[in-house]
């Protein structure tokens, strides 16, 4: 546990004065994400700015320094029977909470428990002028000022250096159970959505290799009663399966083929594209493995009401995120400029033009 704030702030000011750029790194487990990092930029290491600043289990609120590992956070919460309900993916034991928020990464429970962005209550960050600013707070409801905290989700560090994050945590469910059954891809979209529309304790719905997996969690009586009503076999090692989906440790995710992420309407028909698919979040998040052009994928995503990104592999020198219309490009450029007028942080990491 170390408070490295002063060093971080000095490094930012130093970069500003010297006209240098900085790549922000926490645990370094998400280097594969976004566009390739600028080779000429220096490294700003947030991974040493660690530690739990404040944790009151009864408040359901946790405040941590951004370089704290997910592992440490989850171990601390577990002692109090609590957890991060958005199930952040661990890409190794060094994955940090700061990187998780910057990349807006959430696991299988996301449609029901919310995303990392949903749980964020406040942040502190260093902007490009070297100012250490606080936005949001440690309370559940706070509408004073713009929601700069949640704006950081998915910004990949382009707006500032996250130094501290306050977020909502939740009690662990008393019981968890997974149901599995065979189902064709044509049927599964309707099936998962119908189940999600029932007032039952469903907390994950995923389809992979001809099988649909539904997870139930909550009060034991509710989980058991629902499992009896719904079809499917109770899975022996359900927790292990969901862990593999959460951390992308499942063999679907291994190998070097480009990995595409579609964030689309949950009921959209699956894009007609040959190759392996994994459907998660009851249809809202779909993964595809294979070589393709971003433009071609964007057309498929648009048809499905959503967006696509080249999550891993492929050409990291070109754009990897959905194309932005001109008006939104303009707003994002000006926003970037408002936080980081000298363009110090993570240049070109999110978009070539930012």
């Amino acid at each position: 546990m170390a408070d490295n704030l002063q060093t971080l702030q000095e490094q930012v000011l130093h970069a500003r004065d010297g006209g240098h750029k900085l790549n922000i790194v926490g645990g370094g487990t998400k280097a594969f994400m976004g566009r390739a990092a600028d080779q000429d930029a220096g490294t700003l290491n947030v991974g040493e700015h660690t530690g739990i600043v404040d944790y009151h289990p009864v408040e359901l609120v946790l405040t941590v320094r951004a370089g704290t590992t997910l592992q440490e956070i989850e171990a601390t919460l577990a002692e109090e029977g609590q957890a991060l309900h958005f199930e952040p993916p661990h890409f190794g034991e060094d994955s940090t909470i700061g990187g998780t928020l910057a990349c807006n990464l959430s696991g299988p429970a996301r449609p029901w428990a919310g995303s990392v962005r949903d749980q964020v209550l406040g942040v502190r960050l260093i902007n490009g002028k070297g100012e250490h600013l606080r936005f949001g707070g440690q309370v559940m409801k706070n509408v004073a000022g713009y929601d700069v905290s949640r704006l950081q989700a998915g910004a990949m560090g382009t707006l500032g250096v996250l130094t501290e994050i306050s977020m909502k945590v939740m009690p662990k469910p008393a019981a968890i159970l997974t149901l599995v059954q065979e189902m064709a891809v044509d049927e599964v979209i309707h099936y998962m959505n119908s189940r999600a529309a029932e007032p039952k304790p469903i907390t994950a719905a995923c389809w992979l290799e001809g099988k649909v997996y539904l997870r139930l969690s909550g009060a034991s009586s509710a989980v058991e009663a629902t499992a009896q009503k719904w079809s499917g076999d109770v899975m022996e090692n359900g927790d292990q399966f969901w862990r593999q989906i959460q951390d992308m440790g499942h063999e679907f995710f291994t190998g070097d083929d480009p990995l595409w992420r579609f964030s689309v309407g949950s009921t959209a028909a699956n894009p007609k594209l040959d190759g392996p698919w994994l459907i998660d979040w009851a249809g809202s998040q779909r993964w595809y493995r294979g070589n393709a052009e971003l433009k071609q994928m964007e057309a498929l995503a648009k048809e499905a009401g959503g967006q696509v990104s080249l999550f891993r592999g492929g050409d990291r020198g070109g754009e990897v995120m959905q194309h932005q219309p001109d008006a939104l490009k303009g707003i994002q450029r000006r926003l970037k400029n408002s936080f980081d007028p000298d363009g110090i942080f993570n240049p070109g990491r999110l978009y070539s033009w930012l």
Binding site: P57, V58, E59, R110, P111, G114, R117, R134, F135, V139, M140, K141, N142, V143, A144, G145, Y146, D147, V148, L151, A153, G154, A155, T158, L159, A174, H190, N193, A196, A197, E198, P199, K200, P201, G218, A219, S220, S221, A222, E224, A225, S263, V264, G265, A268, W281, S284, A304, G305, G306, Q307, M321, Q324, A327, L328, I331, R334, L335, N337, L350
Partner: protein
């Protein structure tokens, strides 16, 4: 940013009338009168004119004309806001979205609804009910308030702890920028690439864009909901019981607390059978499947008894549940009966500070010579102190405002914030200087400029001009002998 409109009222009206039904370009004082304020009627201002467009294209044209001529624009929904966020600008246009009142589509399988911004909050759930679905956020003004306004304020309600605020329950917004461009932020997917502009838009109080369509998520209606009412002989015990329930691992659908003054006023009004001698009353609603509710209700009753509840009662029927809620839901009008006027505050605090804050507030009540009744979204720490006053007594509203500002400073001091759900608007713009330092406020101004370079959208609201902040902070310092800014940033 100073605004100097380059066009006269008559010229502006004439331009609008070329593409908007002339009856809906309002320029006479009598017809404009109802627009002079929102739900925060202590703050009034007459606009230059009021315009009610019918199409998105018309909204774009209005924005382009206003942007070209540097005319302020205040977008307005139902006008139920409680921070004067929709108070007109005297040099500007009120852009009413009242005609955008259609539910465009409900998709029961996807559990979404596409809405024009003027659709009433409650109408969404009423329409979705046929599919066993509803819309989560339920602000107390839900009969009248609109979804566009809900997005602007990031509205909550009594079920936030479990079901979240507006920001957690919307998928996308279509909006017109200050420059008249139409853009969509968000998508049918649960999140979008890059920085989260949808979150930034939510709660931006009409300062960043004009929302012309909203897609919301709908939730399956829980099978059962039951409420446990528990009375306590001290605020401390009531506050501890709130923590006790949550520590036990139960996340209630709603968890509300009232103090002694509010209990009596509400019970007189609603005859809900509240324990009138209690100093704190909790209403704890558990919803879910039948099995889950059965299990959690029994546990909740036990937790309350263990933590010293002097009375515990659980609703045995839907009628009884509604009766118990009726008192809480009518707390504001109930308090309205015991005082000529009341002023509703909206600070949020960490729940563990509830007893301290209520005790301090009692002291302040004596100092200022004004009564205060408290209703409290205890689940999420959102206080609604109601300061009772009489606007006809000279100086009493000023005293009320001073009392209110002391309460907000106290909220910040204990680690909370000045507004949980009502917004900053005009009303709390000065107190922003208590919660944020100048660098943070400047960052807000810069964010605003990224969307609205000329500063025409709802100017003067939300974020204070920096030159007033230092003055306000030093005034506060003299009043309370605390440096709240330090407490907030220490």
């Amino acid at each position: 940013m100073t605004i100097n409109p380059k066009v006269s009222k008559a010229e502006l009206a004439e331009q609008f009338r070329t593409f908007i039904d002339p009856d809906y370009v309002i320029t006479d004082d009598e017809t404009m009168k109802p627009y002079e304020c929102d739900g925060m009627s202590m703050y009034c201002e007459m606009p230059l004119l009021v315009v009610l467009p019918e199409t998105v294209e018309q909204v774009q044209r209005v924005m382009r004309i206003c942007n070209d001529n540097a005319v302020p624009v205040v977008a307005r929904g139902a006008g139920t806001g409680l921070s004067a966020g929709a108070m007109p600008n005297k040099e500007g246009v009120v852009l009413s979205l009242a005609k955008f009142n259609r539910i465009l589509d409900i998709d029961p399988l996807a559990r979404t609804a596409s809405l024009q911004p003027g659709v009433r909050n409650l109408a969404i759930s009423e329409e979705a009910a046929q599919y066993g679905l509803y819309y989560g956020p339920d602000p107390s003004s839900q009969i009248a308030c609109t979804i566009g306004g809900n997005v602007a304020e990031n509205s909550g309600g009594v079920h936030c702890l479990k079901y979240g605020l507006t920001v957690h329950n919307i998928l996308s917004v279509e909006m017109v920028t200050a420059e008249g461009e139409l853009v969509t932020v968000g998508s049918d997917g649960l999140d979008s690439c890059g920085m989260d502009l949808l979150a930034l838009m939510t709660g931006s109080e009409g300062l960043l864009g004009v929302v012309t369509e909203v897609k919301v998520k709908l939730l399956p209606k829980p099978e059962v909901a039951q409420v446990v009412m528990a009375g306590f002989d001290s605020v401390q015990k009531g506050g501890d019981a709130v923590g006790g329930i949550i520590a036990h691992g139960i996340i209630p659908g709603g968890l509300e607390m009232m103090d002694g003054h509010a209990i009596i006023a509400a019970d007189d009004f609603a005859q809900a059978g509240y324990p009138r001698d209690a100093k704190a009353l909790l209403l704890c609603e558990v919803d879910g499947t039948e099995e889950e509710v059965h299990e959690h209700i029994a546990e909740a009753e036990e937790v309350f008894r263990k933590l010293g509840a002097t009375s515990v009662r659980t609703s045995q029927s839907e009628e009884e549940r509604e009766l118990l809620w009726k008192g809480r839901k009518s707390a504001f009008p109930a308090v309205g009966r015991i005082s000529p006027d009341y002023y509703c505050m909206d600070g949020t605090i960490p729940r563990r500070e509830i007893a301290r804050v209520l005790t301090e507030m009692e002291k302040m009540s004596e100092e200022f010579g004004l009564r205060v009744a408290n209703v409290f979204h205890a689940g999420d720490g959102n206080l609604h102190p109601l300061i009772l006053f009489d606007a006809n007594v000279p100086g009493e509203f000023e005293r009320t405002e001073a009392f209110g500002s002391s309460i907000l400073s106290l909220c910040v001091e204990v680690g909370g914030c000045i507004t949980g759900e009502h917004g900053v608007g005009v009303e709390k713009v000065r107190q922003m200087a208590v919660q944020f330092n100048d660098e943070e406020l400047q960052q807000f101004h810069d964010v605003k400029a990224a969307f609205d370079p000329k500063g025409i959208l709802n100017p003067g609201k939300g974020v204070p001009a920096l030159r007033f902040c230092q003055e306000y902070r030093s005034l506060e310092y003299k009043l309370h002998k605390h440096d709240h800014t330090e407490a907030a940033h220490g």
